[in-house]
């Protein structure tokens, strides 16, 4: 193992010591403004095959144990909090559709979503309120957080499993849009289905 250069060592030490994932900017600030981009890439490469790896999640970097060693480590930890089925579904809907209102979540799930379900996700630090939709009633809209990406090992939302296929299949579009496309009606809401003359 060759001695890494000083900047790489400094970035390595900083990220090892950090209690939270750090953005490249935060690392740079901590190191007095050095350009850390290359050092991060080099470090990630150096650790690629090791038992500990450097990963980027939502523009923030942290070291974590290699996924293939999960079987060795899992037993010493109590499992992470189990999410209810409702909560996992809501989390998936927020992640794949963000930003999304509660009414939109409910439209997909077909049931009312208890306030507590979103609270659990917000408490876990995976979902947050990102504003209001500028429609009547100004409903609150939700999106996922950088912690969500870190927790599920996603570099960005583009890494959400199957998101490209779902989008291509139109499964992330509202039912109304899909219906319009399927019925070949150019514009839903304005165009009534053409009335057929009944043949009495």
């Amino acid at each position: 193992m060759t001695r890494p250069d000083d900047l790489v060592r400094a970035v390595e030490a900083t990220l090892f010591a950090a209690e939270e994932p750090m953005s490249a900017e935060a690392i740079s600030t901590h190191l007095g403004g050095a350009n850390v981009k290359d050092a991060l890439a080099e470090l990630a490469e150096q650790y690629r095959t090791r038992g500990v790896q450097l990963v980027e999640r939502g523009k923030r970097w942290h070291f974590q144990t290699a996924p293939d060693l999960a079987h060795l480590l899992r037993r010493e930890r109590e499992e992470t909090r189990r999410l209810s089925r409702a909560a996992t579904e809501v989390l998936a809907i927020v992640a794949y559709h963000e930003p999304v209102s509660r009414a939109e979540i409910e439209a997909i799930r077909g049931v009312q979503t208890a306030k507590g379900t979103l609270d659990v996700l917000m408490e876990a630090g995976w979902v947050r309120i990102v504003g209001r939709r500028e429609v009547p009633g100004r409903p609150v809209i939700y999106a996922t957080t950088p912690d969500f990406l870190s927790h599920f090992g996603l570099e960005s939302r583009k890494d959400l499993p199957g998101i490209d296929e779902l989008r291509a299949a139109g499964l992330l579009d509202p039912v109304e849009d899909a219906l319009a496309a399927a019925m070949d009606v150019p514009d839903v809401g304005e165009t009534e289905p053409a009335e057929q003359e009944s043949t009495d």
Partner: protein, 268 residues
């Protein structure tokens, strides 16, 4: 409808392995299972029934699905299980949809039952997609479960240190202003050219003493005086004239308003 299904459900948490849900856990030959805890509303139940058809959701037979749902609800009623209202609402709606679908095409109501069926199908597809996505998400290598951050990070601490700035000019100026602010204030009134009432009084009475004819007030003013002094002298002399008149030493006459003010001494 509450979050956890029809009847007060204990199944708040579930493990990823049991993703398919309670209904799916039933085996093929248990066609008549009646497990009500597992669903979150009628759409959830419908999706589960649809998945039992083991075909792509896009090719699902809606009529068959409707029949299965209605059968299910009937059995629940036969067993006197209490069903939440929205299951019954869905049952009624599906019964309507079924009858509409069975009508000859030209007698079908508007919106067409095909459209309604398609809408239901699209909703099921979307719910199914999100359910699969959630399962895949939960199955990822999760931080704190499969992969771990450093167990005992030292932590980074940043102590801020202030580097104070001040320059010579600011320092000197500040001192100047402190001084200026705290110097005892002395008011000085500028020396102005005035004729006091006393001097006007002696001047006017002296001049009245030597003249016996009426004289304009302005003639009492010092000639060649500064204009500012003249104004002051005019005012003082007027007051002096009034004072002399009050003492009975002079009389004053004015022929018309703003006309020249005349003055004459009275011999005692």
């Amino acid at each position: 409808m509450n979050e956890d299904g029809l009847i007060d459900s204990p199944a708040v948490s579930f493990s990823e392995d049991e993703w398919q849900g309670v209904a799916s856990a039933a085996t093929e030959d248990q066609a008549l299972y009646l497990e009500l805890d597992g669903w979150e509303g009628p759409l959830d139940l419908l999706l589960d029934l649809a998945r039992r058809q083991k075909v792509d959701l896009r090719r699902i037979s809606i009529l068959e699905l409707v029949d299965q749902y209605l059968t299910y609800i009937e059995q629940a009623e036969a067993l006197r299980l209490e069903l939440a209202a929205d299951y019954l609402v869905m049952a009624a709606w599906l019964a309507y949809l079924k009858s509409a679908l069975l009508l000859p095409r030209e007698e079908q109501p508007d919106p067409s039952p095909e459209e309604l069926a398609l809408r239901l199908q699209l909703r099921l597809q979307r719910l199914a997609a999100m359910r699969d996505a959630a399962a895949r998400l939960m199955g990822r290598d999760r931080l704190g479960r499969d992969v771990f951050q450093r167990g005992a990070p030292e932590g980074l601490r940043i102590d801020r240190k202030n580097l104070w700035q001040c320059d010579w000019f600011a320092l000197v100026q500040a001192y100047g202003q402190v001084k200026a602010r705290t110097v005892p204030v002395v008011h000085m009134v500028r020396d102005r050219m005035v004729m006091t009432l006393d001097s006007a009084l002696s001047r006017v009475s002296a001049m009245l003493g030597v003249n016996i004819d009426w004289m304009d007030l302005r003639d009492f003013l010092p000639p060649h005086a500064d204009p500012k002094l003249k104004r002051s002298a005019l005012a003082s002399s007027f007051v002096a004239a009034l004072e002399l008149a009050r003492l009975g030493k002079a009389e004053i006459a004015q022929e018309h308003v703003f006309g020249p003010l005349k003055l004459r001494g009275i011999k005692a």
